[in-house]
Amino acid sequence: MPKWFRPAAVVCFLMLVVSPVLIANAPFESTMGLVQKIFYYHMPSAAVFLFSALLCGYASVRFLVSRDSRHDRLAWAAAEVLVLFGAITLVTGPLWARKAWGVWWQWDVRLTSSLMGWMIGVAYLLVRKYGGPGADKLAAGLALFGMANVPFIYISVNYWRTIHPTTNVVPSLPLSMGVPFLFCFAAFLLLFVLLLKLRLRLEEHRARVDELYLALEDR
């Protein structure tokens, strides 16, 4: 592991431990009250979910063009992180919505396209696990759809009538809410980098194991 990994992991852990204290001390939103505090984990996890989908798609394009397995490994690692943070987003969102909107789920554009993006990530992992030979290219194709879906998820709330708040919420946050939000956002970004690095290392080890098996068979 690189030298920065351990200190960064400690910092990330401490940030995640401190984050509930900052969130608890943040002021209550006037109309939603306590339940709005789900936002401090919901929005950063959604952002990381979208970053992962973009990274997975980008690495897949590089892999399809160059056939370099390093890009394929990066895409696989990003897909797993995508599914993790997508699950957090899709679980914390309805818990918030039940109180704020009165329903667990609404088939509006933002929610439906996010669910689709997450299902593409799950499909990617299933193809990689059970797809057999050629699954890497098939999964890379899937990742392209996942990447194309990201701008659609992001702008959907601004272009269609939807129950979900628009993208103007974060820039308009007061400082007392903005500081805990940015803190959580930084913690989730750091967590994203660390998990990606760890998952990438697993794939590198697996590739090395395969190489050694082949080398032993050739003797």
Binding site: L16, Y41, L84, L95, K99, L202
Partner: protein, 92 residues
Amino acid sequence: MTKRLVLIACFLVMVLAPAAGAGQPPRPQQQDEFVPVSELPPQEQLPSPPLVITAYAFAWLAIGGYVLSLARRLTVVQHELERLEADTRRGR
């Protein structure tokens, strides 16, 4: 004969149905105005703390579970790698 019986039955239903309806309790007045969530009666209001706690608990458990799963898989592969490297060295 049968036709006459059917006609009598229809007549009785038409005459008696409103009378039977009149015996029922009056329907509650329908709500035709928007009611803010904060003004709902207590039995209709959903408490926030369980939702917030569930959301944060899920996030922590999902992240923790994933880290543990990664650590376990890394340990398995690391052991396999060490074993294979030892085999390769012995084979030289």
